[in-house]
Symmetry: C3
Subunit: 315 residues, 3 copies
């Protein structure tokens, strides 16, 4: 039986069961990246187009590696080489790609909802690799996967998400994903970076970092866009941000003793967290990156029509 959705547009569309299915399939793909021969023929002959209309290194590399380890044929299209320069609409670009019969379109776009729009018009499965400030579902899924691999049950989990909540697709997808899995989610950041309606999403708002961290299992710091600092900006400066919201060894004492530190990367060291926290024994930040490849392999597999019940992964 195939996965219940044609495309992965956002966490909002997924049931708890959907999420657990993805995590479970990702588990079976995880060990492929640890093999000597890191490749299975699972998606041989499938065409995946990576359409990144916003710059990306990590997410694109993670998808590319996932595609190659599954033996899919990946094609990269990026904004600088795109027809959008010539004034073509996104829909025309997508229809043209569709006419080349890709199986999956992995896309990142600055406009919220762009993947949802395309999904109504093309046959290929779409995987949303980030749409504006809306969703970044593969990040939330790899975060959940990382937490679960640390042996933490979601039902009793307390998570603090810290930073520029209002402008973060990572925050939004994580709030949706973690609450759906039964976790309690607190959000914390400067008042200018906390939009109204966070409670309706299922999160508890904290204004002081120590309150947010109190007894949590996971502290997830978001990347701060440094260009938001200064002048008429949302924050006076990076130093003040670090003083109020940066994670340091002392502040981690508020968390549970075995609590995890996470960050979607890339880190501004000394802003969102001290280097000794980023590289410390509680940090699972690099484990998140490793998980990303496994989760994206699982999603590519499911979007290509693979059955969650009988994952074939022999080389």
């Amino acid at each position: 039986m195939a996965f219940a959705h044609k495309s992965l547009l956002g966490i909002a569309q997924l049931s708890t069961e959907d999420i657990l299915t993805i995590l479970s399939v990702a588990e079976t793909f995880y060990e492929i990246s640890e093999r000597r021969i890191k490749k299975v023929p699972t998606l041989r002959g499938k065409t995946v187009v990576n359409l990144f209309m916003e710059p990306s290194t990590r997410t694109r590399a993670s998808f590319e590696i996932a595609e190659k380890r599954l033996s899919a044929d990946g094609i990269n299209l990026s904004p600088s080489s795109s027809s959008t320069k010539k004034g073509e609409t996104l829909l025309d670009t997508a229809r043209n790609l569709q006419a080349m019969h890709p199986d999956i379109l992995v896309m990142r776009h600055r406009a919220a909802g762009a993947p949802h729009f395309l999904d109504r018009h093309i046959q290929a499965a779409i995987i949303n690799a980030g749409d504006g400030a809306h969703e970044h579902p593969t990040q939330a899924l790899l975060d959940a996967f990382t937490i679960r691999r640390q042996g933490m049950p979601f039902g009793r989990l307390n998570v603090a998400i810290i930073g520029d909540i209002a402008h973060s697709r990572v925050a939004r997808s994580n709030i949706l994903c973690l609450t759906r899995l039964g976790a309690n989610v607190r959000v914390c950041g400067p008042r200018t970076m906390l939009q109204p309606g966070l409670e309706a999403l299922g999160a508890t708002v904290c204004h002081r970092l120590d309150d947010a961290l109190d007894g949590v299992d996971v502290a997830m710091a978001l990347r701060v866009q440094l260009e938001r600092f200064g002048g008429e900006a949302l924050l006076p400066n990076a130093r003040e941000y670090a003083r109020q919201f940066g994670l340091n060894r002392k502040r981690l004492e508020h968390m549970k003793p075995d609590g995890l530190v996470m960050h979607p990367g890339p880190i501004n060291r000394g802003v969102e967290m001290d280097p000794e926290v980023a590289d410390g024994e509680r940090s699972v930040i690099l484990e998140q990156v490793t998980s990303g490849v496994a989760v994206r392999m699982a999603l590519l597999y499911l979007m290509a029509g693979g059955s969650p019940d009988s994952v074939v992964k022999e080389s």
Copy 2:
């Protein structure tokens, strides 16, 4: 027996039989892109260099997909990363590539004749993916392929090519290809966009769109370079262009009832044609894109030395 030409430089070099051979081989490759596993091992171990010295999304993506579906090893080199920045001549670039023993060089270059020049100096087969305002033979071949798949015999075909004929390599290659196949070709556009000598190429010149469309089987609109409008330019503005030369539902009534609308893309909607024409039941514009992959697979196959008589396409 191998194909009669080492390289595909332009339609001008091809006989009627050559063109029909290419279309026939493309037919056998067409269905591969409709399979569940869209890949055959035909060009395994062949190296194809995609040297695009002018920006391109569609044509490059089409070639890349064609290469991957044939299991060729494709390498992309584009102007931004090219040694031409360092002042190297095109010939030195090509000789250096040749020294890495590629089988095929797919190239786009702003200078007319660039592929012909290189072809005299390197061993690899060259496929011209557009040279200046000269030729774009793979586009003309995919257009002919699309027309033939619609069941239209070339011998009784009437085609109108509309737009900036003078600056269009698509127009030039299509005039050459369609007349060689026995079709009657009319060209139509602003006087500033019709160069002398079109009759010598085999085309009939029309100055009014309704005359050009009268009773034709195919209306092929060319992309207008919007930067050509305004000021000292060739045309007063896009609105005036659309009024005189844009395809709309009413004007299509001059065509044969089952006549086709074509465009090489990307479309300036509302300029070259109304959206209802672009997306209408007569439009085969997306079918052109699909055909492009099949035609390019055929050309890669033939340029790699494949026999037109015994295409191997089992996976």
Copy 3:
């Protein structure tokens, strides 16, 4: 038995035996690029990241082709698409890449020592594809390979390296490599381009080109950065450089009768050498390019853990 080094950081780290092993393995890979099917499954399932933080066409293309001919999975990351734009440190970039479990990281970086620094922090093997003005070991190895294929024994070899010695990683790696192999190396160039300490590296300094060329087996011209000419620059102009240090037919008479002309490319024709020299019968410049693919295949093979004693290269 595996190769003695985890990474290839520079010639400085290699013993004579190491160099001879690499050349010997390269010999076995050389003929793969001359086959009809230019591909072996040797590195199937291995992930290679090509991290080029300085622009490169040839070296990157050479590595990419080497990777594909070995069936490795190559991922390209270049500065324009890199997270370093977002202020991420090189170490964080590398740690993140490492978390995706690549087998080999091929890297070019403007900073001398960057690959050595990363090598201490990540598990993947690193191949230095050029670090600042420090080393370019794969170039030196392919140069040695080219010389040896011409049947010249290193022990009696006299080589003149000509040009901007001070700013050239190619010169530095070649001096180290050729002297380690037992050759005598002379360097020659404008006084502003000869740094102190060249004798300590093992080279003899000549100020007149005719002295440098006198009786040598190999004349290796370096690429001159044209931006170094004029104004406050190191050289008055290109014409004066060509007059004093450019290779021409007359000057080659100082060399041994069967002496070779080499250049790492791209050539400034008429500056470093006359076209008739670049394209003449003594030039092995394009043979260097061909050798590059073989040497890089050998290095990728060895860095992936392949045994120098039993190279498997059946398709």
